[in-house]
Symmetry: C2
Subunit: 253 residues, 2 copies
DNA sequence: CGTGTTATTGACCAACATCAAACTTAGTGG
DNA sequence: CCACTAAGTTTGATGTTGGTCAATAACACG
């Protein structure tokens, strides 16, 4: 299942994703594009790495959707972040030997597993790549901060609105959302785990957002019907995503 | 108020703090020790940087205690992390131009403001320093993840116990805690903002922990009376702090 | 068609918030 | 050294958001 290539299409999505945060020069692009990797397929719900493990590869999402999570002994699961093609959710494992959380697939996903050694080599020789990858981990941290504020200090409706804003904007930036629509296998259970709410309450909160006419959500198809209002409800300010690329028209103001 | 020095005592605390996470070679230590800086004093409650600003220096804590926070429009403030001497809480601003949160002092503090340019120069020429600083920002992110789980999925008592475990262990590692005691100007208001609870509930939760005989807290003097139980209540596992240095005896098991 | 997820609804409950007031402590100036 | 003040802590009463339990309905998939 291992394979190598000189300019493999699998790496295009990584270049695109990185390009949104940080200008890469040609050397950096080449270095990224030439990273060795092996492809793996993860079934929906399957874990790529678990808390406590010491992986020696990092996982680039190619197809599908993933999330990071942690659970407390009481059994409840807290989703920490969502990840799309082009993300390397466990990049931090190049320096943090032991995983402090798990990484799993929300749908059947194809991932590229890149040896830590290869990443570290690339970093050693390429400063632009270093700052690009470093910055991507910093944006990661910025999202955790936004989620912490969200979960800690906002009522259910605002919290959910904020999450939809984040997901929609990120997907739009990656070209994964058509117009005002995105498709994502988010069940209410998953939303509950991300928002730190009960499933029942997620259901009611969703209904409220629908009633208000700001979104539509049916079996993984989400439509943003009123971005301005959604953004307003969620007190969403995209600054924390730290994009260097221009935001789409609607998100600018 | 600007000053320079060749091996200034101010940088010792940085070396110590970094050394807990990452082995530094002599070149890296020299590079750190020779960073230029200017000293500033921040009054209790004063901000070093605010959300939205674009600083061109990062702040090394030398004396005193700081916190990062963000607020929602509704006015409530969420504290994101606490910082001790040796920390560089806004190191991320070298790559994330615009602050997505604020940094303020919990007590009158002395800080060293280090120009971004100097840090970036040091990084360009010193790989060990690069990985050390990068790792410190990754540990930062790991703490946010732990807090997210804490705030999202744990009841008040556990949440507070977890926070005390984190603070105590971090202070012990830095040599800021004597035996089972630490001194920190944490008012109940501050605890409330960090734990995402109301002040009243913080008060009651503190009383419960006291009644249980696990801690003592009086006007900023905290005593850990039963670490094992505190740790157990908070479901505290220090792995997420990613220390490379040995933990103190009591925290090992 | 069953069988297992996912979504929805209603009834009831609990953890924590809010409000309001009293009390304690620490700092300040006369 | 004591009054004065402001900040921090504590307590009680009451309210509400969101959790839990339990049952039903709607889907999706083999």
């Amino acid at each position: 299942m291992a394979e190598r290539a000189d300019r493999p299409p699998e790496m295009q999505t990584l270049l695109k994703s990185m390009g949104l945060l940080h200008a890469l020069d040609d050397t950096a692009r080449d270095a990224l594009a030439n990273l060795p990797f092996r492809i793996a397929v993860v079934e929906s719900g399957g874990d790529v790495v678990r808390e406590g493990q010491r992986p020696n590869e990092s996982c680039l999402v190619i197809d599908g959707f993933m999330c990071r999570y942690k659970h407390s002994l009481s059994g409840s699961r807290q989703i920490l972040s969502f990840h799309f093609p082009g993300d390397i959710p466990d990049l931090q494992s190049i320096y943090l030997a032991r995983m402090d959380h798990s990484l799993s697939a929300l749908s059947r996903s194809r991932v590229a597993l890149i040896p830590h050694e290869a990443i570290l080599d690339a970093i050693r020789t390429n400063p632009t790549l270093t700052s690009g990858l470093w910055k991507s981990t910093l944006v990661d941290a910025a999202m955790f901060r936004a989620w912490l504020l969200n979960v800690g200090s906002k009522p259910a409706t605002q919290r959910m609105a904020h999450l939809f804003c984040e997901i929609f904007l990120r997907m739009r930036m990656l070209g994964l959302a058509e117009g005002d629509t995105f498709v994502l296998p988010l069940t209410q259970v998953v939303l509950a785990e991300a928002l730190a709410l009960s499933v029942v309450h997620v259901n009611r909160t969703l209904q409220e957002l629908r009633r208000e006419g700001v979104i539509t959500a049916r079996s993984g198809h989400f439509v943003i019907k009123d971005w301005q209002r959604l953004r307003h409800i969620g007190e969403f300010d995209p600054a924390y995503l730290h994009y260097s690329a221009d935001l789409p028209e609607f998100a600018r103001n």
